[in-house]
Symmetry: C2
Subunit: 339 residues, 2 copies
DNA sequence: AAAGCTTTTGACACCGGTTTCCTTTTTCGC
DNA sequence: GCGAAAAAGGAAACCGGTGTCAAAAGCTTT
């Protein structure tokens, strides 16, 4: 009576069930060494009281908590959210929760900020999204702090424990093969910014496919962007004003592809009749521009799920895949070249 | 020597400083009753050891933790992420962290799932994003569980403690005034789905502005969508095929506006010459379609920050504002009507 | 019935903080 | 110089769980 209305603790359960705390603890943790009798009895009391173990107390006693962190630099809102959903898929029905932490890639105190964050929150592990997942110092920091980590991205490192990656290079090659198969010969590339592993992989995939078919890639058929809309517009403008106008463009992400759409429109080029465009990411924008953009999509949500599983169930071999296949999403921005 | 490499605890600090735990605790919590002498001494040891208090132990002792939750139903990735950033602005340099929890609005077990989530994580408080922020049962659940909460959205309730809202109605009115000022008379509305407060507010804002100018809104000038791209396309198709074709359309969000673009294009209507379109949200897509979409943007990040402050510093009156102004973002999808 | 196992259970210390309450020291007025 | 009040600091209990280890109970075996 007197202690009404407080959330019940393990002690309350123990008292009501007439057993010790430890026994209740055993029931909670599904310990094998328990008679069915006591188990049933304790479970009844737990149900009656609506008892839920206090996660902070557990975290303290076990000397580890059940918080996963997500470090990201907002490259693409949709991607970040899909990863969050994937992580949630993985931790559903567990006691884990997901803590997010946006960071500023360009901050000079980036590493210190993250260190303070890890010290303060004592996370079980963190997921690191591209592009900051490419920062090796960050991975070392996690190691040093004894914090589990998984890096996501289009990385080339073969570190099965700490990497969940897509296979950008191969996918871009396939996309370019597809263009070539349709008859395109003059295919231009809008590549991503220097220093991004994804930009590198996509470029290499592009060049490899062209070379495999013996097609030249003159400097005028390559332009660099920043992964942003404006830069795609600019890059495409340069490409389309070249002497030998390309009949197709591969853009290293959808935003830049959208910029290229704009550049084509300014020049009265019809898509896909005068110009085919392929993007990368399958972001929402791809479906919402006109004509809908053919692009390469990677299974972000599944990757988020796999990354989380790698942290919380490292023994689970079903989650050991670490290189995920992407697929070409065919919409309406690609056709055979004119004539 | 022997206990090397473990993260230092309050006991280690106490021993090295030659004081009791309690004194160290006093230093951490900036208690007033302490001599400067001891304070300096203890602080030196803390710095030397790189001691950081264990948040789980603190949470246990204080009977409350420092976790804020974000409940959302992914209406719009960009919005969710901006809110996350706003919350991070608010909790920077505090010990709070942000836990995210996507939910499925249509799940029959929605409330139970959230209840379990709150029971398990024992959050300090939660932020609820639209559209699930409109669910009153959810707010009651939080109250019942003793969990602080703030609802965000375009709500009409005047509950300064628990609401952070934008002023959709007034903003839509202004947008429509703007169209009328340019000379438009036949203005159509694509409204959001039944049951969304935001859809309601935006519709009311639209109708109020039309009525204020004595302009009729025949049934053929109204169509309902689901807030999704496809529905905008369909709705606009109906509107544009009506006997009296409108010269301007207000769409209740940007995605549907993008769908309307598509419908206009199918009918060879030029934007803005033949048809002006205004959207709502200022989502990334608005800047990435062609022509760039004039739209109404609301200060999502600031609202996220305000919502978080309401939870963690309820006394702070600078954050008491609860109705945020939106603003018209003028791009290129609006012009005077032809002729 | 006693001895010897195995299974089940509980007492107690501990995780790393905070709170309560009490003792010691300092300050200060007279 | 003394007593009293105020300031400073410490001992022990507590928050709600888990780990260790030993005791109790149940079951064979002889």
């Amino acid at each position: 009576m007197s202690k009404a209305n407080k959330t019940p603790t393990i002690n309350d359960v123990a008292r009501l069930a007439g057993v010790s705390k430890k026994t209740v603890s055993r029931v909670i943790n599904r310990s094998a060494l328990l008679s069915d009798d006591t188990r049933t009895k304790v479970e009844a009391v737990i149900a009656e009281l609506g008892y839920v173990p206090n996660p902070q107390a557990r975290a303290l006693a076990l000397r580890r908590n059940f918080l996963l962190g997500l470090l990201h630099d907002n490259p693409n809102a949709q991607t970040v959210l899909k990863v969050q959903e994937g992580v949630l898929d993985a931790i559903r029905d567990t006691e884990f929760a997901l803590v997010v932490r946006p960071v500023d890639r360009h901050s000079p105190t980036l590493l210190d900020d993250i260190r303070r964050f890890l010290e303060q929150q004592r996370l079980y592990g963190v997921l690191i999204l591209p592009p900051i997942s490419e920062n090796d110092a960050l991975a070392e920091l996690c190691l040093e702090m004894g914090c589990g980590y998984v890096r996501m991205g289009s990385a080339m490192l073969d570190d099965e424990e700490h990497i969940v990656a897509s296979n950008d290079r191969e996918m871009v090659s396939q996309a370019v093969d597809y263009l070539i198969g349709l008859g395109h010969r003059r295919i231009a590339l809008i590549e991503g910014p220097e220093g991004f592993r994804s930009a590198l992989e996509r470029r290499e995939g592009f060049l490899a496919a062209m070379q495999a078919h013996g097609l030249p890639v003159p400097p005028a058929a390559r332009a660099q962007g920043t992964y942003r809309f404006d830069s795609g517009l600019e890059a495409a403008s340069r490409l389309l004003d070249a002497a030998e106008r390309p009949t197709a463009i591969f853009a290293s992400n959808d935003e830049m592809a959208a910029g290229a759409f704009h550049a084509a429109r300014q020049r009265d080029l019809k898509i896909p009749e005068d110009l085919s465009i392929i993007g990368f990411d399958d972001s929402p924008i791809a479906a919402h521009i006109w004509p809908p953009l053919t692009t390469v999509g990677w299974p972000v949500r599944e990757m988020g799920r796999a990354a989380a599983l790698k942290l919380i169930a490292p023994g689970d071999t079903t989650a050991r895949a670490f290189r995920f296949p992407a697929r070409l999403v065919q919409r309406q921005s690609v056709g055979p070249p004119r004539g």
